[in-house]
């Protein structure tokens, strides 16, 4: 530390960068972070440049541009100067990459987390299991609209892909 010259590049540890990114909320579902969403695929120093690999959720998701901007803003705020954001298409994003913390936060927020069976397990409001699908699409590309027949409330379901 004391040996560092003023112009020496400080390369924060990759685990610290993951923690910083875990503080960046998803722009459309702000209760989960970009790391929870599973779209940050890699964080790596290449010489003095930090390379962050990001995969899109849906190819046309309008949040993609905002997400890249948010990542850049956050990392620059932590003093990262040389930054490269790399789009990574394969392997294609899957909801299997949602973190457990993220799944719990979604349900708490009122969005039923994805299930391998293809539909929500229970109503995020009343926990009822008597559910019906209203539409395969919802307020964002990643969600579908469902309704609980017990409490009669509609709710978002995070589609399983």
């Amino acid at each position: 530390m004391s040996d560092a010259t003023p112009d020496q590049i400080v390369r924060p540890d990759e685990s610290l960068i993951w923690a910083w990114l875990d503080d960046v909320p998803d722009p459309e579902i702000p209760v989960i972070s970009l790391v929870d969403l599973g779209i940050i695929r890699g964080v790596e120093w290449q010489d003095d440049t930090l390379v962050v690999a990001v995969t899109p959720t849906y190819s046309g998701c309008p949040a993609t541009a905002i997400i890249n901007l948010d990542i850049e803003t956050a990392l620059r705020g932590h003093g990262i100067e040389k930054l490269e954001l790399k789009r990574q298409l394969s392997p294609a994003w899957t909801t299997d990459w949602l973190s457990d913390k993220g799944r719990a936060a979604l349900e708490e927020y009122g969005i039923a987390p994805p299930q391998p069976a293809g539909g929500p397990k229970r109503c995020p409001q009343c926990q009822g299991e008597n559910l019906e699908r209203l539409s395969q699409f919802g307020s964002t590309p990643c969600k579908a609209q469902w309704r609980c027949r017990d409490c009669l409330e509609p709710f978002d379901y995070f589609k399983c892909i």
């Binding site: 899109p56 046309g60 298409l89 294609a92 994003w93 395969q136 589609k159 892909i161």
Partner: protein
């Protein structure tokens, strides 16, 4: 020297192939987006807008790669907004006006079914750039075809009014379906390079999928084997494409390079 020419001919075929993929999704995406705010019920409006969004996202991937392959510095936006009718390579069915909701859904199903079969083959493309786009896009198309097939069944096997409209839509659109399965020199080049399938080889799987859904929808395939064609080769588009481009491209034409 001969070798060099051969490589550039291959690249030219690949560029054409990518335009065909990207122009299909671009033109259909634009048509579907015309429904935004006009669909019969809110859920369908949202579903159509989401579908359009996916298609436009897929366009960015296909045309983005097309521009990269072409190597002339054109990106997906330049290809979408600054080409004229004769340079478009979409099949004719996708540029037709939407018609009523039933016709829009029928067209979506007839395209989604082709798309799902085609992408299944492209996942195995020898070009990893094509394979990874196909892998990504096929997940979205799986949702699209599920919804369009369900809706074709719901409306076809619905009221006498909805049934009649869906049958009329099928009668009108089916003569355009054949174009998706025509093969030419571009396709032959893709097959020999191991990059993509012969479109004709998709037909059996397509007919099986479409036949099953139309049966459930109590709809009947029209007689006749006439096929409207000319879109995917660029030989001749319908008059409708020009009107579509006028609306889609006017901003970049009127205010070149404008951004916001």
């Amino acid at each position: 020297m001969a070798n060099k020419t051969e490589i550039s001919a291959d690249q030219a075929a690949l560029f054409q192939f990518l335009l065909r993929m990207g122009d299909n999704t671009l033109v259909l995406g634009h048509r579907v987006s015309e429904w935004c705010g006009h669909a019969p019920v809110l859920e369908e409006d949202i579903a159509l807008a989401n579908t359009a969004l996916d298609l436009i996202g897929q366009t960015q991937l296909w045309l983005g790669l097309a521009g990269e392959v072409e190597g002339q510095g054109r990106d997906a936006d330049a290809l979408a907004f600054l080409r004229d009718i004769w340079d478009f390579r979409n099949v004719l069915m996708l540029e037709l006006p939407n018609g009523d909701f039933g016709q829009t859904i029928m067209r979506q199903f007839l395209y989604d079914a082709w798309s799902s079969v085609m992408l299944g083959r492209l996942i195995k493309s020898g070009d990893p750039r094509i394979a990874e786009i196909a892998e990504k896009v096929s997940k979205e198309v799986a949702y699209h075809v599920e919804r369009s097939a369900d809706t074709v069944v719901g409306l076809g096997d619905g009221t006498s009014e909805s049934h009649a409209r869906m049958q009329a839509a099928l009668d009108y659109l089916y003569p355009y379906v054949g174009e998706m399965f025509l093969s030419d020199a571009t396709d032959a080049a893709m097959v020999s390079a191991g990059l993509g399938p012969d479109p004709a080889s998709l037909r059996d799987e397509y007919d099986l999928l479409v036949g099953k859904v139309l049966d459930k929808a109590t709809l009947t395939l029209p007689d006749g084997s006439y096929t409207h064609k000319g879109g995917r080769t660029g030989a001749m588009h319908t008059e409708h494409l020009g009107h579509l481009l006028t609306s889609m491209q006017w901003l970049q034409r009127a205010y070149p390079n404008s951004q916001w």
